[in-house]
């Protein structure tokens, strides 16, 4: 379930598609493609495939890591479905995904459109947007904890100027999830922006020139040329964001002190807790497989939808 978040992949998705219109890649190109994919594929096969399959076996056992496992069949799955905390985690993960994926993509698109300009220092500005992504989640979390602090926190201070009373951003059940979403969206913007920028720059100038001749305005250029030709990039960032958000963990881990509440316990945190805190590796593995099945189902539906809205040049 690992997705490599590399700008180069984005380039490939947005760029090579243009050249390969009609047929597939040439035979010689295909060979190179496999060669470049080899390190990732070998890594996945050797380091991930084994453990992933092992969790399938473990999910059918009761195992506390330290004493021998006992076979329980699909018992863990039944227990999970009867477990309120599991449903809470599932609900919170759905909330997080439904809000953070569209929000993150719209913001990233807006910023990418703004950054797609040849102005002085643009490279620096673009780099700035990418910085949160290469900063450790823990450092980011500590800064955001200060932003959200009920007393003397940046956010409450700013709101105070407008006469808005201070809020408990992290511990108030109502704000707990929005606070995590805001931090995650901010942190994840960089990836989507880079992909969108690559997509924008691969749109041939000629289309815009032709639109100018036809007297198209800014809005219709965006609607009729930019967005349709950007759909491969939008499709690609969509799938990355979707899978990434289903796996949200770091942000919850660093932002919810001292532990997540019913308002922000997410599925991967639940899995971590079951396995490493409550000594139930079987149950944790079963939950991981349920998450995998959900992610796989959503991915399939999403890929199927591609025909209806993604335009390859």
């Amino acid at each position: 379930m690992t997705v490599t978040r590399s700008p180069a992949v984005a380039d490939a998705a947005a760029g090579t598609r243009a050249r390969s219109r009609g047929g597939g890649p040439l035979a010689s190109e295909r060979k190179w493609a496999w060669l470049f994919l080899a390190p990732t594929l070998i890594g996945l096969a050797v380091l991930s495939a084994g453990p992933i399959m092992a969790t399938l076996g473990i999910s059918l056992t009761q195992w506390d890591l330290l004493t021998p496992a006992t076979w329980v069949g699909v018992g863990n799955f039944g227990d999970l479905l009867a477990n309120d905390r599991f449903w809470t985690a599932l609900r919170n993960t759905a909330y997080y995904t439904i809000v953070s994926v569209p929000l993150g993509m719209v913001l990233a698109l807006a910023i990418a459109l703004g950054l797609d300009k040849a102005i002085r220092g643009i490279a620096w500005i673009r780099t700035m947007y990418f910085l949160p992504l290469v900063t450790s989640s823990v450092a980011v979390g500590l800064v955001w904890l200060w932003i959200y602090a009920p007393q003397g926190g940046l956010l409450n201070e700013v709101l105070w100027w407008f006469g808005i009373p201070p809020q408990r951003w992290v511990s108030d059940p109502f704000w707990a999830m929005p606070a995590i979403i805001a931090m995650s969206v901010w942190q994840g913007l960089g990836v989507n922006i880079i992909i969108f920028l690559a997509g924008l720059q691969s749109i041939p100038r000629e289309y815009y020139d032709a639109a100018d001749v036809d007297g198209a305005g800014r809005w219709s250029r965006l609607r009729r040329i930019t967005l349709p030709l950007l759909t491969p990039s939008i499709f690609f960032t969509g799938i990355l964001s979707l899978i990434g958000s289903l796996q949200v963990f770091d942000q919850v881990y660093v932002l919810s002190r001292p532990r997540p509440t019913e308002a922000n316990l997410t599925l991967v945190y639940f899995i971590y807790e079951e396995g490493f805190r409550f000594f139930r590796m079987g149950s944790a593995s079963a939950a991981a497989w349920i998450l995998f099945l959900i992610a796989a189902a959503l991915t399939i539906v999403y890929f199927r939808s591609q025909r209806r809205w993604v335009h390859y040049q």
Binding site: L66, T67, Y148, A149, Q151, R257, R259, F278, F279
Partner: protein, 429 residues
Amino acid sequence: MRQSPGARRARTATAVVLGTALAGSLAIAPVAAQGAEIEYAIWGDPAELTNQIALVDAFMAKHSDIKVNVSVSDWDAYWDKLQTGLAGGAAPDVFAMDGPLFPDYQSRDVLLDLQPYIERDSFDLTALADAGVQHFTTADGQYGLPRDLNVVALYYNKAMFDAAGIPYPDDTWDWAKLVEVGKQLTIDQDGDGLPEQWGFYTETTDMENYWSSLVWQAGGDIVSEDRTQTLLGSDQAVLGLQQLQDLIHTHKIMPTPDLFVETGDAFEQGMAAMESNGSWLVPTHLAAGIDLGIAHLPAGPAGKATSINPTGLVVAKSTKAPDAAWEFVKYIVGPEAQTQLMQLKAAVPVDKSVLAGAYSTAFPGSDVFASSIDFAHLKPSFRGYTEWTTRLQEELDANMFNAPNKTAREAIDSVLPELDAILAQNAAQ
């Protein structure tokens, strides 16, 4: 875990009898550990690591044939690494053990019984604090020794008491006095409803910092002796829990916990006049420049009580160098190492001679921790502790302490069946 001294003695006696029987069947040759290398794993901050490395160096200076490698992690990573290490056959030889989590490991048969080694060397367990030793005693052996003790007491800011002309807390203090003085020391100068100085502060997200002591001071208890029943539903226990909610939401001498959850200890920041918390905070408070005073926790309706929680040293059953590991454990709990350990002021020593001697005058107030042990209750420990306490605290934090959605009675009643189900599930395994 409320126990009369009689019950403690009875349990220790059983352990000794069983231990002797075991030692008879398992003859262990008194061999010295030759050229062994062991790994010693701890959690902690850089100051603790430095202190522990000093202990290890002193040990190696005496035992040139044993090399000890120290590995340190933060709290969460420590348990992740330990579990995977034990499962994967790469566990540290000697490692630190948090009191409440001990049964989760001991019951899974990954710890070495030290009783045969204790017998072989005629090691005197009575030299160590009884509660600490007893914590690691089971029906069939001694699966660890206490490394240091965590004792809860009342910290107070002398400067704030002086400024208000109020005498320092003493042994006459009870709950009512705490509230009375707490109100005098809660100061909201700008009248915005949010005091700049709070009378009292504590952490509510773990029983150890204060609320377990309140339950005991009210005459209640937390779980039954046989670990099959949660006792928090008794009127006394509920009274204790209710007291903490009242300090926050009725008397308003203490901030709601979420107000300081991001920024940390209000007492350390000089924003609270008193705090109930553990002995491990002494160096933190001193480093923050607090004019620090330490007193016994105020007494409740059923008298004085506080919490004691030993951090233990345990040996992995899978160790290839059990003799070297035992030598090391023996050294760390001994008077020399314990004297070194207490230099940090964070750890209450387990060696009785150090506790009554050097420690009692180590810093102003150290004697308070030492004498608190007389009326201290062991922090409860049982299989499934983490899940039990997670579920319990979720309810208490959200509905009692951060927001007064429920009374102590309502909160406890709503979570009690689940807590007992967790105990039952763990007892059955």
